[in-house]
């Protein structure tokens, strides 16, 4: 499901979404995708397009680089 299984994109969507008190459905509605897409994204089974990444960043109030990375995030960051 990810664009490249060899090059995974790590993300902090779930962590930031929970900090904002949003459900998957609410985040999905805000960025115009299906709630399962958020679920797959949080599980690392889908890498979003740049447009979707920008929309998610806008809703979660963070920079894209703070949410998505090609290197694993350190715990608690």
């Amino acid at each position: 499901m990810s664009r490249s299984k060899e090059d995974p994109v790590f993300n902090r969507v779930e962590e930031l979404r929970l900090q904002q008190g949003l459900s998957r459905q609410q985040l999905a509605d805000a960025v115009g995708v299906h709630y399962q897409t958020i679920g797959y994204l949080e599980r690392g089974e889908y890498s979003p397009s740049l447009l979707l990444a920008l929309k998610i960043a806008a809703v979660l109030g963070a920079e894209v680089g703070e949410i998505f990375s090609i290197k694993p995030f350190r715990k608690g960051k």
Binding site: M1, R3, R24, V33, H34, T37, Y40, E42
Partner: protein
């Protein structure tokens, strides 16, 4: 993603807008939300479609036509179950899907096309084998009835393969909230 009042029909895809939207937003529990269950369905479907194709090699008898009819009935039922199992993503037009759904659907079509090329080679080989058997047995009935089962099998495979690939590849669905 919003449901509209008028139920549009997508003739090319052979599906209605309401069917797709209801399927995408269906929250009722189903075993087919799990990848393992979907894969079992795909294997069953593949075996039955292949069984339908090899009918061409069997001598034409009443029992054989009953078996062929039963196989076809089960394959058609499973075809609709399969479409529902993948939430009609394989059949849906772009405008009803999000970017991930479009991506997985298109990837499934690519794989399905490659598999179909291989499958059609097998169908040709089956037809050649059937031709040889016909020449050996001088059974003229083999041609019409046997060839029909091969054609039906090929049509069912071509129609189902994208959904079969999608059902195989899609990971187990995440819950609304895990």
């Amino acid at each position: 993603m919003n449901e509209k009042k008028r139920n549009r029909i997508f003739w090319l895809e052979g599906i209605t807008e309401r069917t797709v939207l209801n399927s995408l937003n269906d929250r009722t529990p189903s075993r087919f939300r799990q990848q393992a269950a979907r894969r079992r369905l795909v294997v069953t479907m593949a075996v039955l479609i292949f069984a339908l194709a090899v009918q061409i090699l069997l001598p034409t008898t009443k029992l054989q036509s009953y078996i062929e009819f039963a196989l076809l009935a089960v394959v058609i039922i499973l075809y609709f179950v399969l479409r529902k199992a993948v939430r009609h993503i394989a059949d849906a037009p772009n405008e009803l899907l999000d970017e991930r759904q479009i991506a997985v659907r298109d990837a499934a079509f690519t794989v399905a096309y490659r598999l179909l090329a291989v499958a059609f080679t097998v169908y040709v080989l089956l037809y050649v084998a059937h031709d040889v058997l016909r020449d050996l047995s001088f059974d003229s009935d083999r041609t019409a009835l046997g060839f029909m089962s091969l054609l039906i099998s090929a049509a069912m495979l071509a129609g189902s393969l994208p959904a079969m690939v999608l059902a195989w590849n899609l990971p187990s669905e995440p819950a609304v909230e895990d």
